[in-house]
Amino acid sequence: MVNTKVELCGITLDNPIIPASGTFGFGYEFAELYDINMLGTFSFKGTTKDPRFGNPTPRIAECTSGMINAVGLQNPGVDKVISEELPKLQKCFNKKVMANVSGFSVEDYAYTCERLDKCDIVGWLEVNISCPNVHGGGMSFGTDPEAAAEVTRAVKAVTKKPVIVKLSPNVTDIVAIAKACERAGADGISLINTMLGMRINLRTKKPVIANKMGGFSGAAIFPVAVRMVYQVANAVDIPVVGMGGVSCAEDVIEMMLAGATAVEVGAQNLVDPYACKKIIEDLPSAMQKYGIENLSDIIGAVNNG
């Protein structure tokens, strides 16, 4: 018998698999397909203070082994998330969920987190300072260590729940940002958000995406994500949640060897709605294959020996 349990900021997960924000809605849609209680947890759709429609369409472009999205944080706003979405989730999910939060000012982040802090079902706050698809917010906080620290401090001041700051790969020195968040009180770091990308339609000679650029995700970005998880995990003392192109149980093990305590799965959910179920079911045999008894033992084990 292998042990897939890991502990993330004081909460034990049955396994480290977490569907990433923006690829799993508010969970209940996927509960029609399989019992989502088998997940470690999941990170719900990025939530902002006010309702947002997001960007104009087309918002999606295909790439080799990946895709670009420029959804732009479409969500019903925190009040409706609490009054309408979370009650629906509660009917099919009896674990703690990760609340993903975005904003356009430090006050926005604090406002939204303060409200979500009062929800019992929320176990962690994942503070997204790395959305590449909105102007005047999102990623602009994630590309400057001082701004990242300011958001972290503001959020920590309004919640007792663990705060995990989600970082952008679109920076020169991700380690500096991670350290700034840790110093500001972050309980964990998650990375990587999507990489800024672009496609051009040869027929129209115009960008495929209406917003011109968008976030590149999918299997193609996996090596970049492993590298950045490795760098950050070696630089901070708080847990790291690794994500970026994870598609199978072997990728989960690799991400954990690099230093991830838990692993988020994003774009793969969109092409295979059963992706996380399959990964969880495949994990024990993959662990056996590589001689792993306790999954938590391999966190950062690339550094051993």
Partner: protein, 241 residues
Amino acid sequence: MKQLLFQITENIKLTDNVMRMRLKGDTSDITAGQFVNIKLDGLFLRRPISVCDCSDGILTIIYKIVGKGTEQMAEMKEGTLDVLTGLGNGYDLSRSTDKPLLIGGGVGVPPMYLLAKKLREQGKEVSVILGFNTKDEIFYESEFKALGCNVGVTTVDGSYGTKGFVTTLMEEIDYGYTYCCGPEPMLKAVYKASKTSGQYSFEERMGCGFGACMGCSCKTITGYKRICKEGPVLEKEEILW
């Protein structure tokens, strides 16, 4: 939604760049106006294709060769495909009056076929207008006639049927409800020309096709809708035009 394996039983040319594929598998989840989302080797995103017909475990799709995905599909002779079925909100047949008018333009024609079949089974007097650019692009005129529909064809260049757009023929027909699928300019023209209530089927570039990614959202009078989930069929009364 179901994730299923389908066996290719037919893949033939209907016109120069339009193909018909028949697939054997579990079609129990599929209704008129819905689409399926097909996984293809080497391509990351699935390909959403509208349902043309389904009966007795045979799914029929008609697709235009426009890019890498449909080029790959056109080459297939046999084998199995990983297909998500039962996607989208299809046509509501209960809204139809005794004399519905079905309008399809180009690759907007296929979804009208299963709808016409179902409405004929209910004994409705079904009129169909099929719009194409030119004679060489026409397909399925005889198939709609075989269902017992009153069929009119328009071509933009006048090389077959009535010269002009689908709206040219609308005035001559006695109808009480409108169903429409085609390129957006056509939908808009029909929306304006139609004297009745109706349902219009929309297209948008999709990520997942089952409501998870918010890639295909649109604004309507009744709020934000995902083309892949609350759509592709929208009620005339909720369209923001």
